[in-house]
């Protein structure tokens, strides 16, 4: 990414004037009066852009206020730098904060969708019809910033389940959005959350009413399409008493040279006896072999087990992104609530991943389990960073954490930063971690039986990651296993 360095000795008066002139012109260009037909906001971020996004989406006054509050907070904050990753500074003024795919009218059925877009989806293997017919998965596909197709909506509606895009939810269910949006991840939580809260373009909203067990896996496919567009997705899932939902999130992104920023926020709320299972397969473009390009994935994901006996489970398979920086967390507030985190993170070439979880035990008899498997190859760096916090009143809290790292090649790194803070003497907390490589004897054993080295490595890695893969829903597990093998192609031998 280009950074401009101020060099006073080289600038003369004329240039100064030029810059001044440009700035004046720019301000005019970026002003609040923007062509309403525009599908893209101009580059850069200002209060006007926030107003533009909000106006573009026909949002009510309270939503705009909420965004502006976040924006003003963001201006006061500085980018965090504690993660174990290095990257050139992001120029937040060089990003387009809103872009919608070119469409004339809002489609009522799949047939009305632009065939170009449909073709891209098919390439990615997300045929809407097929999914609809064969797998029974309802898909809320988000391309760039606007939701273009929602299936199975009616079927879900019969059960009282709301599954729609965030913009729709703001229009149609303002009372739920006002109650829950930002209740788990406050706008001031961190730099990227404030940024997302100010400019988020769309996302998914899911509401499971009391006593309903969602009959199918809900799923959203995110994809970055237009160049230079940062994606700022916002997901909110609320599960009322005695309900259950399993939610899938998958990501693919095409080849790009310039780094792209992805700063999403995901909030989960589980009330009494509710259970939310959130699975992710993340396969953003990781950059090429020399570490050029790739997505910056700075995501804040957090769930709260608000009611007693509730459960939130995060499962993630991370194979993509140039930089991954995310910590799906659970606040275990309700008594007897359960938090789980299962993760496989694979880094190859120059990828960097700093990922892990936070389990905050607040209620009594709360339990959490962390299983994290990191695989590093090439020149990549893979860090696990996790926090297990047991509060003063979290009697009989129980945590078990296991983080294993596997190193393939001698130029990569594996790091573990577990933070464990316990303030209760009835808590039992365990943490264990190992780092190793694939044993030569294991490879030899496979070779002996006619399995070539590359296949053997894929086999061993799938075995290493099995504990996590088993947690994925069927449809994802198959895809994820293939992904692991593809991600590590050419890293052995």
């Amino acid at each position: 990414m280009k950074t401009e360095i101020y060099q006073p000795e080289k600038t003369d008066r004329k240039e100064d004037l030029d810059i001044l002139e440009q700035t004046v012109l720019n301000e005019y260009k970026y002003g609040f009066v923007t062509d309403i037909e525009a599908d893209e906001a101009p580059k850069g971020l200002s209060e006007d852009i926030v107003r533009f996004i909000s106006a573009k989406k026909n949002e009510p006054e309270w939503m705009l206020d909420w965004r502006l509050k976040a924006f003003r907070q963001w201006q006061k904050m500085t980018e965090p730098n504690w993660a174990n990753v290095t990257f050139p500074p992001v120029n937040y003024q060089d990003i387009i904060y809103y872009s919608a795919p070119k469409q004339k009218i809002k489609p009522n059925s799949l047939d009305e969708i632009d065939p170009e877009l449909r073709r891209t989806f098919e390439k990615l293997g997300i045929s809407l019809e097929e999914q609809k017919r064969l797998t029974g998965v309802a898909v809320d596909a988000v391309i760039d910033s606007v939701s273009i197709g929602t299936t199975f909506k009616k079927q879900l509606a019969e059960l009282g389940i709301i599954f729609c895009s965030m913009s729709e939810a703001i229009q149609e269910h303002p009372e739920l959005i006002r109650q829950y949006l930002g209740s788990v991840v406050p706008v001031t939580d961190n730099y990227f959350v404030a940024l997302n809260s100010a400019v988020f373009s769309d996302g998914s909203f899911c509401f499971i009413p009391k006593g309903v067990r969602c009959p199918m896996e809900l799923s959203t496919y995110f994809r970055i399409n237009a160049e230079n567009t940062g994606q700022f997705e916002r997901t909110l899932i609320v599960a009322e008493d005695n309900s259950y939902v399993s939610y899938l999130e998958g990501c693919t992104a095409p080849m790009r040279d310039e780094n792209q920023l992805h700063a999403a926020v995901v909030e989960l709320v589980a009330l009494e006896h509710a259970e939310i299972k959130y699975s992710t397969v993340q396969n953003w473009y990781p950059g090429d072999k020399d570490g050029k390009g790739g997505i910056y994935n700075f995501v804040t994901k957090r769930g709260i087990c608000k009611g007693d006996h509730s459960k939130i489970s995060w499962t993630q398979v991370e194979t993509g992104s140039a930089i991954t920086w995310k910590y799906p967390s659970v606040i275990l507030k309700g008594d007897h609530s359960v938090g789980e985190f299962y993760s496989v993170a694979v880094t190859n070439h120059h990828q960097q991943a700093d990922t892990g979880t936070k389990m905050m035990h607040v209620g009594k008899n709360t339990r959490s389990r962390i299983v994290s498997k990191g695989i590093s190859a090439g020149r990549s760096n893979n860090s696990y960073r996790g926090l297990v916090q047991v509060g003063r009143n979290a009697d009989k809290a129980r945590n078990f954490s296991q983080c294993d790292s596997l190193l393939l090649g001698d130029k990569c790194g594996a790091h573990t930063f577990p933070y464990i803070e316990v303030k209760n003497n009835t808590a039992v907390v365990e943490h264990e971690a190992t780092t190793s490589k694939i044993g030569e004897d294991q490879i030899f054993y496979c070779n002996q039986r006619g399995i070539d080295t590359e296949t053997a490595v894929a086999l061993i890695i799938n075995g290493f990651a099995k504990e996590v893969m088993n947690q994925l829903p069927m449809e994802f597990a198959v895809e994820a296993q293939k992904l692991l093998a593809i991600s590590l192609e050419g890293s052995v031998g």
């Binding site: 190193l407 001698d410 577990p418 464990i420 803070e421 971690a433 190793s436």
Partner: protein, 433 residues
Amino acid sequence: MDTISYFKEQLNQLPQTQPAALARIRQEAADAFVQQGIPATRHEEWKYTRISSLFNKGFEWPVNQSATAVGEDQMQALRLPGSEKANELVFVNGRFSKELSVIRSKDLTVLSLEEAAAGEFEPLIAAHLGHSSDYLKDGIHAMNTAFMQGAVFVHVAKNKIIAEPVYAYHITDARAANSLSLPRSLVYISQAAELHWVETFHTLGMQESFTNQVVEMVAEKDARLFYYKIQHDAPHTNLVSTTHIRQIGQCYTYAVTISLDGHIVRNNTHVVMEAEHGEAHLYGLYFLNGNTHVDNHTIVDNAKPHCYSNELYKGVVGDSATGVFNGKIFVRQDAQKINAYQSNKNIILSDAASVNTKPQLEIFADDVKCSHGCTIGRLDEEGLFYLQSRGIPAKLAQSLLLHGFTSDILEKIKLDVIRDYADQLISQRLELL
């Protein structure tokens, strides 16, 4: 006057007659200290330990300290068992006291740092003094280096086994005012030599004390170093104690830290393995009550292949005490065939006690075996029930189990007199429960 301005003034008054090499190291540290100040909890390495507010109490550090009033009778009360057969190094308010110290081994050379830097040991000092600064980038460490006064250099000659252990006493005189002491030493163990080193800390008087001590130890090929640190000072004393062990040849080093008392205690224990086939052991025990806060930070840096290290820290935390553990294992690129193990086990005895632990691995080589683990919990209820069902009262059962838990570390102390002494201290602590 704020803390930094006070110390800046004291810095300016320090005598400038030192050899050039020392003056340069001190000046760099002084700049770093003034720039960084006392670390706040925002500093990642000080996240769980708050020391900045301590300095509001105005610790005094007079530039010209008169020959102290610590006499033989006071020393007598502080002496560790076995002292009649030990070399005794006494530091009073951070400065080495020749009068109180006793050197019994003829192969052990003890010189003031200035004297050593002016003589034949100059290359050793130039090469090794201040090496710990690469690992501790904070104002507290820089402070010790900036104010190096009355520091010592200890040298063990080649092939010599020092049969009599070295007992290093750090005495801070806080009878008149809140007192700060900044002891510093550099220990060099030559090829195939062996040394046992025991360190303790004492405060005289009822005012508060702050001891910020650094010892850097260098071990050559085939050397053997056994280092023990016992912290059993009064509850109004504060301590930051840094032990930086550098293995420059294939050698064997061993360090045990026992922490029992104090207000805030921070131990930085480092082993830097710069030669192949090195072996390092790090053990620690903290058994805390009252408001004591003990923070153990350890670093094992594997820079060369084929090294082995084992680390075990155990803690029993009661009352409203806090135990902190942060262990780091680094494996550098191309440092293959490393075996590095780290474990931290904690028992919390009361409702108000806290344990914060962060066992950390940073690995840049693939052919390694590294593991770390930590547990936090309370005494095994089944074990307690088993003992009680055989007629052992609950209190005694608890104390038996805890004694068993701590003995893992106590038995690592290889000097019999010191082990018995530590065991006795633990037994006293168990009786208080």
